[in-house]
Symmetry: D2
């Protein structure tokens, strides 16, 4: 999936009051939510609904690392385009590259490298990503 | 707009990790965010983008009252249908009825009565809703 | 506990960037978080830690109703005083009155009536509040 | 301030329902809020209240980079100790090292490197940090 430089999966995110802060712009921590919505929809698009994974595979992805650069502010009512692209695949974790752009002018607002690891539902211990999940990721 | 019992405007809302709490369900305070997204999209649908209102009319709506009943829980990955329906129009405020339902089974999860008042952007003081806004609301 | 008009339990809450919105004030939905922090600390003060209740009594309180009036705005860096006072006790639910005031001038910012119901941890079904919890509430 | 390896400023943070997610643990994005509360209290402790800075110096700090590692989960009712320590000072930005630990066992839950830059309030453009702010930071 897009290890060839393709932009990857895209998901639209609208900025609401809940996302802004007293600086008049999107509160930086909320980009982590936007990135997660895009990752979730990318996984769902690949047939990997997280609630289903938890029920059927007994595990789920947890976020272990988030490196984010905030370049330009977004404002109330802005429509963003948020991307997700698989960068690296390990036995127990994935590294995903993500961007948030203004949908109108494609201006880059923030970009991130996110590492997610597979954990057992009950113990929350790191485990190997189920084979069918890896297969779907590289389909 | 729908003072006749029609369901009013509908807006889909997906439940992500950010919306849930350790009870395994949507954190109740987040329904206020869902209701606001639906109100915002309803207003936008009527030509009343809030950032535009602020810039061109020098004011915006603030929420002055939120009465919510939480009936059934929603969970991760659920797709909700959130409605907005104008109930009452005053000189300076609106009362809006809203519901959140599970999109699949139409089961009612939460309903709310929300009062929003128009305030001047600079002073944050209550003022009269601009005439063109009232016109658009009743178009 | 304070069914006699006493102000009840008080808890300080500082306003951070995360709490504000592009209007320059505290985002209204966040008062529900402030009210919950005060309720939680009030319960803890009575010996009713929620994580302990869940583990030892197999249940927890969920919020079933939140009626809030937002009177005046709070801003970044403001220090609020948030109260919690038991209003009514039922077999399966409690009604709690809460206020948020500016700590400096005691100006009332928002007040709320919150109903919380006891549910079984596993089924999330309403159940009777454990006797020792009721005893602690009225100690 | 603590460029010598001292732990730096410490601030207690309690975990409430609002902070958790359906995995039963603190939602990772919320550590950014915890880190910001500790930075804000550290700055306040140095006489640098942010609302005062905005009013008197016409600017404020914005977050331009957040690199976070999430090591162990925190749960409802946990009491965390969150630190802030100045790592580097530039003309227009600061780099701050932060940790979140369980207060009881000092177990490290998450650590972060956060870059904040000074911007002009009106234009949101990067500017030089006021001299008195730098003086206070190194007092």
């Amino acid at each position: 999936m897009a290890e060839d430089g393709a932009p990857g999966f895209e998901w639209p995110v609208r900025v609401y009051w809940e996302d802004t802060d007293a600086g008049g712009i999107v509160f930086y921590a909320n980009y982590l939510k936007f990135f997660e919505r895009a990752r979730t929809e990318w996984l769902r698009h690949l047939g990997l609904g997280q609630e289903t994974l938890r029920r059927e595979d007994g595990g789920f992805f947890v976020v272990s690392q988030t490196d984010v650069r905030y370049l330009k502010p977004a404002r109330l009512d802005d429509l963003l385009c948020v991307t997700a692209r698989l960068d690296k695949t390990g036995r127990g974790s994935l590294v995903i590259s993500q961007e948030a752009r203004l949908q109108s002018c494609r201006s880059l607002l923030a970009h991130a490298t996110i590492r997610i690891g597979w954990v057992d539902h009950a113990s929350l211990k790191p485990s190997r990503i189920p084979a069918h999940v890896l297969t779907s990721l590289h389909a």
